[in-house]
Amino acid sequence: MSLIEVKDAGKTFARDEGTFTAFEHIDLSIERGEFICLLGPSGCGKSTLLNAMAGFDLVTSGSIEIDGKEVCEPSDRYVTIFQNYGLLPWRSVQKNVELGLEQKGLSKAERAARAAQYIELVGLTAHKDVHPRQLSGGMQQRVAIARALAVDPEILFMDEPFGALDAITRMKLQDDILRISREQQKTIIFVTHDIEEAVYLADRIVILTPNPGRLKCICEVPLHGYRDRTSGDFLRVRDKIFELFHMKAENRIEYFI
């Protein structure tokens, strides 16, 4: 059985002037350890779908199951990382990373040690005592990643986590998250509207189309192991996705390139 099963899921919002369907009829199975990118234009319901999987704002039709259990509230077995980091500005880096651990009944020393370990993983040991405001955007997002990893979740949900960063920082963080996903064997669901980012990171890319959000296709990325942004293979896959993006909407097909 897959880790995440999305079955005919739909989300309809009640609005003043009636209802609005953010997405509908989404079917998706995600395996343990996969890196999945949700790719699509603005407004196609990527964030809404991610929020539904993470348990913040549940689907109104169909179902989403994780580990065979219907998702009904957030859990620290699957943590979300946001575009604007969501760090607590009144806590130091160390204390921010400890936030999720405070619910786990660890001793103070254990907590500190575990936080320090994940701060080291994202390379911020030198900055562990400063407050988030004193860090660059990229460093802040690293703190958020460390904080999420510290509770040892099975799944990481990431909503355009690198969207606010400059190109170079973004590439660095992409490498980091790729390394971490391999080392730590996490399942990652990653929302982006950057095609290259999706191709660089994902094992499979889920492409959505807007109005209302629908699954257009699921694209397997055959770039196992080492990825090179300039290699011919990378460019071929990227071009293929570009092509798909400008194709007329069809019902879902699994694409193997």
Partner: protein, 254 residues
């Protein structure tokens, strides 16, 4: 340190100008000296008051009342505000009552307060409490409602629930705004301390005003007014420093 000296320079210059204007007005006007004392006479009255200790006794009494009324107002208003801010539905019922009570000047309650509690410390404390309570309550409720929702989302993600959520996340997130309410209430409370002591007490800097008027000692009256202003200024400065320090400790921009 250098910065504070520079800042103090402005204050010193502006006070000197103020006193000079006062002296000028005194010289050119032909008011009876008993009705409009010169700065020098006020200073002499101040020294007289200070010398026999009455001034410090009154100041001490006033500060005690102020501390009691203001601190209890801040603590209870912040606690209630946090709860009502979180249970925003309940606040919808409370809000009309608050809006009804808020525009009533605390001094309007004075007759009742004196009837119920007599003359002494309590009326002034109650007045200060009323004056400080509403601004802090309303800013706290608003502050909780305005918390960036991402903090709550992050908390849910890590399974942080009430009551931890309140003191780990909501209070610190709302604190900068709450602090501005606490600050605002300080000035209001100090203003109403004087009003409260003028009616409901036999001691304190507010009572001293009534006392000086009864003795027709306008020099003492004016000296007392200056003292009231100075203490207000000092309290405000101290609070500002405390506020800054907390915000800095909490990684604020200050």
């Amino acid at each position: 340190m250098k910065k504070t000296i520079l800042k103090a320079r402005y204050a010193v210059i502006s006070f000197i100008v103020l006193i000079a204007l006062w002296q000028l007005l005194y010289t050119v006007s032909d008011f009876n000296e008993a009705l409009f004392p010169s700065p020098f006479k006020a200073l002499r009255a101040l020294i007289e008051l200070a010398a026999d200790g009455t001034l410090f006794r009154h100041i001490g009494t006033s500060l005690y009342r102020f501390a009691a009324g203001y601190c209890s107002a801040v603590v209870s208003a912040v606690l209630l505000g946090l709860v009502l801010g979180w249970f925003s539905k309940a606040f919808r019922f409370v809000d009309p009552i608050v809006q009804l009570l808020r525009p009533i000047s605390p001094t309007a309650w004075m007759p009742f307060i004196v009837l119920w509690f007599g003359i002494g410390d309590v009326p002034a404390i109650v007045i200060i409490f009323i004056a400080g309570f509403f601004p802090v309550l309303l800013t706290t409720v608003a502050a909780v409602a305005n918390i960036d929702p991402i903090y709550l989302k992050v908390s849910r993600s890590f399974g942080i629930r009430q009551p931890q959520l309140m003191w780990k996340v909501i209070f610190p997130a709302a604190f900068p705004q709450i602090a501005s309410g606490i600050h605002l209430a300080l000035g209001t409370s100090w203003i109403f301390l004087v009003a409260g002591e003028m009616v409901g007490a036999q001691s304190g800097v507010g009572y001293l005003i009534i006392d000086a008027r009864n003795d027709l000692r306008t020099d003492i009256l004016l000296a007392d007014i200056v003292v009231i202003g100075l203490i207000g200024l000092i309290l405000d400065t101290l609070l500002k420093m405390a506020e800054k320090r907390i915000l800095r400790a909490w990684g604020g921009a200050a």
